[in-house]
Assembly symmetry: C5
Homo-oligomer: 99 residues x 5
């Protein structure tokens, strides 16, 4: 999996039938130290992620192993919202939670 930041959305009306109801998010990869790296990819959303959130996403056939993406032609899925990343004993990311 890779850590990514959700930075946008893609809207499509004409598409393969099995894609109906899926949300497509634009993700930018984020290195474990929290820096934006790499180019953007588009992933289906299986956890209700919002723009600005840090997420884990899986690619390849793993992307079809969620309730929302089973048997659908998607090759990337957001499967978790990241709460915390720790590298070399240091917390490099902690999700800010409103009370």
């Amino acid at each position: 999996m890779l850590i990514g930041k959700v930075v946008g959305t893609v809207v499509s009306t004409r598409k393969e039938d099995r894609l109906e109801g899926l949300r497509f998010m634009v993700i930018r990869e984020v290195g474990p130290e929290g820096k934006l790296t790499g180019k953007g990819v588009v992933a289906a959303d299986a956890v209700g992620a919002g723009v600005g959130e840090l997420v884990l996403y899986a690619t390849g056939s793993a992307a079809r192993q969620t309730v929302f993406t089973k048997d659908r032609p998607v090759d990337a899925v957001i499967m978790a919202i990241v709460d915390e990343v720790a590298v070399d004993g240091t917390k490099t990311y902690v999700k800010f939670v409103d009370d």
Copy 2:
């Protein structure tokens, strides 16, 4: 998935039997901000995409999860026509529609 622009076509008469009837399109990857990036790839078309259109395409085993590509030896498929891309709150692409 990646966002791509359909820039061309590939014609083949001698091919694996199961490929009969599929259209092969040349795609250039387009970053979320709308810039052409990367080299060209060839994808099967599952949605009736035309040259010049912005599309979403999936690679790997996901490419066989459409009605048109099931059980066929293809590793990339156009599975959606893009209407709109938004990144960081800005629309970076809006499909022009003739009335």
Copy 3:
């Protein structure tokens, strides 16, 4: 899929039993404009391709979706001989056919 030019062959006698009878071709990727790009890969041949021909090849699990490669440990297959490539309205490749 990618467009490639068949540039050579690989011969192997000691190999996994299920590979018996398959031909292995060395392919160099060719961009849609016809330039050789990238390094060489080895693909199983499912269409009787010859050295010098332009072909389409698929990688990953798609490589096992032909009659010749089903259930065999191959990750790349030549599944079509290219007749013609058109990019941006220009034919960038047309196969020369002897009569």
Copy 4:
């Protein structure tokens, strides 16, 4: 497979249901000569790996072939702890074991 060093962890509470109970580790690829290379990836842990250990990890559909990851949306798994690496007749890594 690739050789990697476990350098951190990722915590997530909101995630796909099937991920419950899995540990996610941040891994940095290590070349066979023992140098850290490449950027970090996140892998599910199938062997009880700890931060600091050298491991083997597999990506793609192989990541779902362990007892812990079967049918789960993960694309990378730690499937072995490395004891020893030898390259060109030289041991480039030997795990230190406390008695």
Copy 5:
């Protein structure tokens, strides 16, 4: 598939149960012209390859299509020993065989 040279071995005692009995070899990719290219990867051995030999290896789900690797969490397998490579009409590699 890619052509590689076996340059080393990886030993692991603590690993996923299904990996028992598999040998893990360090491979360096070799271009069709015989030059070492790329970094090292680790592949399971399905043909009894030895250090120093030139081999073909397959990655992804193809790596589980041999008798030795079926249903095991491996993403790369040595599935053939290379006898000969020919590129552009020239033999770039011929295996030396002792009598």
